[in-house]
Amino acid sequence: MMIKTLVLDAEKCSGCRSCEAYCSLKHEGECAPSKGRIHVVKWEQEGLFVPINCMRCQEPACEMVCPKRATFRNYTTGAMEVDPYRCIGCMSCVFACPFGATFVDKDTGKVLKCDLCDGDPTCVKVCPTGALTFEEVSKETYLKLLANADRIPGLVRKAIAVEE
């Protein structure tokens, strides 16, 4: 099976925060970036914006620390989800996440975790710059490999001091 994942490219992000607003509309039925499952960290004066979202780790800290086994993987989408009936709101997962990508609703204490919109992420549809894309994991890693390998001839030429 091909697993698809959300690929974040900070280089392309323009900081519009559409992803945050549309995410909360989709999941909460209201507009509140603070309730989004994705956030953009901004250095406005540098023109730099970094979108942060669940990395769907192979061995997720959020799952491991959950005392009630409320955090689980959805094997259809690959997303890490939270069962609201099991969750006791202890926020262990929030603090255990090494990426700071498990969020919490400040009003209700509810854990906010990206569920990839059941395999059709809303944020990808609204992202104007292509900073957010939904890609097949195997294809994406293959492209990375190619990009990496592509640098090597340059290195070799440099090493033997042949002009470009």
Binding site: A21, A32, T129
Partner: protein, 631 residues
């Protein structure tokens, strides 16, 4: 409530008193944003109050759609009594501050009084604190924002602030948020400075409730998809306005120098805006939730980083006879950091260059600065001197008229202003709707309106755009730049269209000017968010009420038909070159356009004052009673 978060926040800086009142009673008549703000200033302003009196209310307005998940939902309207015109001020800025104010729980913010010492406001998720700003006084707008975020230990705090120019009451000081989003026009920075208020920091975790969330999501997603296919989107999102400048100069739509003439061969041949973007642009950026990234974020080594939108691309190039893009960029960053309006600043420099060129002033009159056209030293020195109120900069800081007065009567004759402001930098001799809209507008720089852009579009496909004009504005002639016909009605319709996104707190570039050139789209969003079921004609009727109330505020301040005027130059000096060589405004036909405008509006032709009948039709009887019956 859906859409509105329900509260108007009032801060009295003298008494340090903070109160709130409900938004709801106003929304059916005024919607929100600009419209509701007009009612607030009408009600809160005591006639006779001067711009820098503590009693001058400084009002920030967001609308029911601000902060919602739809394109362009990041706009804020600002009003007060303008120190430039002593009429109602109107300015508007974007980025993230407006949505944050909604999430913090407020639709409007009314600031009155004057703090004893420099202070800033911190609106934190429903609570409000007046904090000391002694340590921020003197800092530029970029430093101020960073310092406040550091002090509050939260980089997500959104700040709108003034720079040194606002502190020193430069009459055209502006407000700045982020690195280039400004409430530029009408001197809001000076009003804020007069209150000893350095900044307003906002942080909010609340939400905007939506009546029909699923339908809203669907419409917003399809709108984004549609926008991405639009040619205007593709141009603006990649280049901002940088690439269209040459075309504007070629069409004689943008003036060169101080409205001296429009045709400067060198700028048409050698405008380097696009190349500059290509070389130094990090990315294009937009406001909150906007896919249409109409602003350029540039990083130029040795000069600096920041954001710019439309005005400086012409103001600091053709407006001051400058082709050196480094000078354009340094001037843009300087005005943003110091907190002065780039439009009025470039016009003020343009004025000095003309006076110098015509020998009305010499270097001796202006601290030894040689005010040659396009001179780098002249441009940058003048900006610094204005913000510092030093030497001749202190004269300019009081306004172009005040500066000209000190240079004598020949200089006064030269000043091109409308209602105390530099007119919008369009060409009024060739483009008749621009002339009418500029003259009768609600402030000295009320453009662009849709019909003005239609006159530009017309060159690309005259027949097509004439048919658009016939459909939308009731006359084919409305699209033809040189025609005086059909402009009055087209201007009125455009003015009403313009107020719709302004009243709702979203971007008029998207909804009305460039992307969706109608009112239908934004009305559909309005209904889904608020749960109301208003039709387009009802939405436009509210715009008409807002327009009339704006007018009545100014009438109460003494405005009459004679103030709806343009500088003599446009009637006396025909264009000498270019596409519209020979074009000039004919006084009689211009006045006829105004007659037509007033009578279609239901305003008295002789005075330009709305009639009682019109005001009562719009539910503004109380206003008619107060102003029309005044002795």
């Amino acid at each position: 409530m859906f859409g509105w978060v329900g509260k108007i926040l009032r801060v009295d800086l003298t008494e340090k008193k903070i109160t709130t009142e409900p938004t709801e009673p106003y929304v059916d008549d005024y919607i929100g944003g600009r419209g509701l703000g007009v009612r607030l200033i009408y009600d809160n302003f005591v006639p006779g109050t001067e711009p820098f009196d503590p009693g001058n209310p400084l009002i920030f307005n967001v609308g029911p759609l601000t902060g919602t998940a739809m394109p362009g939902s990041g706009r804020v309207d600002v009003t007060a009594l303008s120190p430039m015109s002593r009429l109602r001020a109107k300015s508007n800025f974007g980025a993230y501050w407006g949505p944050e104010l909604k999430y913090a729980g407020f639709d409007h913010l009314v600031i009155t009084g004057k703090s004893e010492k420099p202070c800033y406001l911190f609106i934190n998720d429903g609570s409000v604190e007046i904090r000391d700003a002694d340590h921020l006084w003197g800092k530029d707008t970029f430093e101020t924002q960073k310092a406040i975020q550091a002090e509050l230990r939260d980089s997500e705090v959104k700040v709108v602030c003034i720079g040194p120019a606002g502190e020193r009451l430069v009459t055209f000081a502006c407000l700045i948020t982020e690195t280039g989003d400004a409430a530029g026009r009408t001197g809001m920075g000076a009003v804020m400075g007069s209150k000893n208020l350095k900044a307003i920091a906002v942080r909010g975790f609340g939400s905007v409730k939506v009546a029909k969330p699923n339908e809203l999501l669907e419409l917003a997603l399809s709108t984004v998809a549609e926008m991405k296919e639009h040619p205007a989107y593709q141009e603006l999102s990649n280049w901002g306005v940088a690439r269209s400048m040459q075309m504007m100069y070629d069409f004689s739509f943008f003036p060169v120098g101080y409205f001296e003439d429009v045709h400067w061969e060198e700028i048409i041949q050698n405008y380097q805006g696009a190349a500059y973007v290509e070389k130094y642009q990090i990315r294009n950026m937009g406001c909150f939730c906007c896919p249409n990234r109409c602003m350029n974020f540039l990083a130029v080594p040795g000069i600096g980083k920041g954001l710019t939108s439309c005005e400086p691309w012409s103001g600091f190039t053709g407006g001051v006879w400058n082709l050196d893009m480094d000078v354009f960029w340094e001037a843009t960053l300087l005005t943003n950091r110091l907190g002065i309006d780039c439009t009025e600043t470039s016009a003020s420099i343009g004025l000095l260059m003309e006076l110098y060129h015509d020998g009305i002033i010499t270097a001796k009159d202006i601290d030894g600065v040689k005010m040659e056209r396009g001179s780098k030293e002249a441009i940058l020195t003048t900006i610094k001197k204005i913000a510092a109120r030093e030497g001749y900069g202190d004269l300019l800081a009081q306004g172009q008229k005040a500066a000209a007065k000190s240079f004598g009567s020949a200089a006064i004759e030269k000043v091109d202003q409308v209602k105390g402001l530099a007119p919008h930098a369009y060409e009024f001799r060739a483009y008749k709707s621009a002339a009418l809209g500029q003259a009768v507008g609600h402030r000295g720089d009320p453009l662009p309106l849709r019909v003005n852009l239609l006159e530009v579009d017309w060159h690309h496909a005259p027949e097509w755009f004439q048919s658009v004009a016939a459909q939308q504005f009731g006359s084919e002639e409305a699209a033809i730049p040189s025609s005086y016909q059909g402009k009055a009605l087209a201007t009125i319709i455009s003015e009403h269209m313009e107020r719709v996104p302004d009243n709702m707190g979203v971007c008029k570039w998207l909804y009305g000017l460039f992307l969706f050139q109608d009112v239908e789209r934004v009305t559909a969003f309005f209904n889904l968010v608020t749960g109301k079921e208003l039709e387009v004609p009802q939405i436009l009727k509210i715009s008409e009420r807002v327009r009339n109330l704006e007018r009545m505020f100014d009438v109460r301040q003494g405005l009459r038909r004679d103030d709806d005027a343009l500088p003599r130059k446009f009637f006396e000096q025909p264009l000498k070159k270019g596409k519209y060589k020979g074009a000039v405004l004919e006084k009689e036909k211009f006045e006829q356009m105004k007659d037509e405008y007033y009578s279609l509006r239901g305003w008295d032709k002789n005075t330009g004052v709305p009639t009682r009948e019109k005001l009562e039709e719009l539910g503004l009887k109380d206003i008619a009673d107060e102003v029309l019956e005044a002795p």
